[in-house]
Subunit: 166 residues, 2 copies
C-alpha cells in the first residue's frame, strides 16, 4: 500500500480503533432537530486512563470525531449528489457537503458538554446515532475557528439546513 | 476485534485510506504562526471523481481531517500531560487538548480555501506538515458551530495559544 512521494509523504492506509461509543435515544437516521438530543459518550477504560479527561469540564463544547458505522463502504459517494436528496438544490461534490456517505465515513460534530463522570461524558446536541463508534474527542476552542465575519457559504444551503439543530 | 454491545454498537477497528496529501513549506513541527502559511491539498484522482469538489468554491473555509503520520503509535498519550510541555500550566487530559500524540492520531483543522483547480485545493492557515495524509475535507458551515457567546474555555489556555495562527 505504500507509495513513496517526495518529501516523506505517504498514502498508506492505517487502522483506527474506537475509544468509546455513543449512547443516544436516536437509533435511526433523522435529518433535523438534533439540538435538544441528550446523549452519552461511554469512553473505553481499556484504551484511556482516568485522567484522559482531566480538565475537560473547563470547556463548554466538544468536537467529536466518529465513524458513520451504519454506512456500508460500498455506499460511499466519490462524486457529487443533490444535498439531502433534494433535486431542487444544485448538486454538490461529496467534499462540499457533510453527507455521511463519504470517503472514510468520518464524522466531525460539535456538541455541548453537560457533565463528566469518570470516562462517561454527558452531551447535548450531538448528531450521532446510538451505537456510533467514537474515534476522538477534542475540546472546542475559539482560537481554532475562523472569525465568523470571514466565513462565506451558500445561503441556499444554509436555508436547507435551518432546522438541523432547532 | 468485534465486541457486540447492546443496541448494535461495535468497537470494531477499521481501516482509513488517505484521499490526498498536504504540500506545505513547513516540513518539521513548529508551534506557532500558522495563519499565513500557504499550502496545497493534492487530492487523489484514484479515489475521487472530478466532481467531488463541485461547489467547494462557494465556501470560504474548509475543515480538514488528517493523520498525524509522523507520530509513532507508541508515542500516543492515554492520560494527561502539560499543554505544550509547559510545566507552569496545569496538566490536561489528552482529550482536553489538541496535542498530536493522541489516540488514533487524527487531526481536525480549519483553513481558508484560496482556490480550486480540479482536485488541487489551495489553502491558507492549515496547521499540517508537508506530506500529511488527508482523510477528509468538509465545508465549514456556521450552522454546525456553537454560538460564539455560548463557548467557555480556560483563559490561561487561550493565552498560551495566542500566537498559534498570528
Amino acid at each position: 500500500m505504500t507509495q513513496d512521494l517526495s518529501g516523506g509523504a505517504t498514502t498508506d492506509s492505517y487502522r483506527v480503533h474506537p475509544i468509546g461509543v455513543v449512547r443516544s435515544p436516536r437509533t435511526v437516521p433523522v435529518h433535523d432537530h438534533w439540538g435538544s438530543v441528550s446523549a452519552v459518550l461511554e469512553l473505553d477504560a481499556d484504551r484511556l486512563q482516568p485522567d484522559a479527561v482531566a480538565g475537560l469540564d473547563l470547556f463548554s463544547h466538544l468536537e467529536v470525531i466518529f465513524h458513520f458505522h451504519l454506512v456500508p463502504e460500498s455506499d460511499t459517494v466519490t462524486g457529487s449528489v443533490h444535498p439531502r436528496g433534494r433535486e431542487d438544490l444544485p448538486r454538490l461534490g461529496i467534499l462540499a457537503q457533510r453527507l455521511k456517505e463519504r470517503p472514510n465515513r468520518l464524522g466531525v460534530s460539535r456538541c455541548e458538554l453537560v457533565g463528566v463522570d469518570g470516562l462517561t461524558l454527558y452531551v447535548r446536541g450531538l448528531d450521532a446515532l446510538d451505537g456510533t463508534p467514537v474515534l476522538d474527542v477534542k475540546p472546542y476552542q475559539q482560537i481554532f475557528q475562523p472569525p465568523p465575519e470571514a466565513v462565506r457559504e451558500p445561503t441556499w444551503l444554509r436555508a436547507a439546513m435551518s432546522a438541523y439543530y432547532f
